[in-house]
Symmetry: C2
Subunit: 204 residues, 2 copies
């Protein structure tokens, strides 16, 4: 997998889930299909009166999730920024051309209540729960950074092998220390719970 | 639509998006299909080591979103609570029976790293963007409360009709004051922006 393929897969999914945090610290989630993809950015349309718009203007942090028909999860974690004034109309019209159903929701000039945000910097996480073993990988978009997640076995490992026995994905390899094959790890934490030497450290 | 139908529709969607907020205030979203529905509650499985579990234990606020094949969005906003110790195994086994693919991800006893949370109190929002006009409705689960959203026209209305002309869904009716038909409202905010009397108030 790669970044370009992930974005293309998201485009094919069509309807994505966007999560933000509101002023009260509550998780907020909604579906968005009014999207346009550029090679290094995702543009999306919402309306200026929506709480979603308020949340993005207050704190642009957003996570975007798509689930493909091949049971892959693709997640973007980044910042949504307001597109500059002079470019707003161009992207609104682009999205309305690509997504004809939008003209039924916002007929004629009523699309003028629209506003365009863009995600240029993001972490992209690819996660395939249907593969054996499961498979995950991370990429970056723009200045996005990869946040380490999951678990790692430290030098405190005593080599007892207890973690190997409980790993659902059989993704821990012998060694000094033992090693988690990160791309096949569920992040379930079974290894950390069972380690008698407390050698398994949570990342992130 | 009603609460029961919404839950049944979510069950048929299968894979839902769950949003939480992490300790750093970041939105977090992931797909969950390890679910079991009771008439008045939704049970779900995750693993004790996952960040998702940490977020739920720290702050149970969660939003759950499903997108049906009929282009309906169904959203639960509520609190996820840890199911009591003595009931954990029963629900894990129920979910693994209903979702056979889980035994591929967590074979044999490795499912013991699982943990079950339950949503009993929630607001349910139904939103159909494909209907003409669009349609929305809210219901409650358990002690869930409906949070008013969108806009309302107050007594300051001067009856000029400007809002009627800009409403994409044509859902504002004449009167003193004019009135927004809430079940057909996009929450786009066009009426609020154009009102010369500032009579349109944001809810929530």
């Amino acid at each position: 997998m790669d970044k370009k393929t992930c974005l293309e897969k998201l485009r094919l999914v069509g309807v994505l889930a966007f999560a933000t945090v509101d002023a009260g610290g509550n998780p907020q989630i909604r579906n968005i299909s009014a999207l346009h993809y550029e090679p290094e950015a995702v543009y999306f349309f919402t309306a200026r009166g929506k709480n979603f718009c308020q949340e993005l203007c207050r704190d642009g942090r957003v996570q975007v999730l798509g689930y493909t028909k091949y049971n892959e999860m693709i997640r973007l974690s980044g910042t949504a920024v307001l597109v500059e004034e002079g470019e707003q109309k161009k992207w609104i019209d682009t999205i309305f051309t690509e997504q004809p159903y939008l003209a039924n929701v916002y007929p004629g000039d009523t699309r003028d209540i629209g506003i365009i945000f863009c995600i240029r910097d993001a972490q992209i996480e690819y996660f395939n729960l249907g593969a054996h073993p499961i498979f995950r990988e991370c990429y970056t978009l723009g200045k996005g950074k990869i946040t380490p997640k999951g678990f790692v076995i430290t030098e405190q490992c005593v080599g007892c092998g207890a973690c190997v026995k409980v790993c659902p994905q059989n993704c821990i390899r012998e060694g000094a220390p033992y090693k988690i094959v990160q791309e096949h790890c569920l992040h379930c934490g079974a290894c950390a719970e069972c380690c008698p030497a407390k050698a398994v450290r949570r990342l992130g």
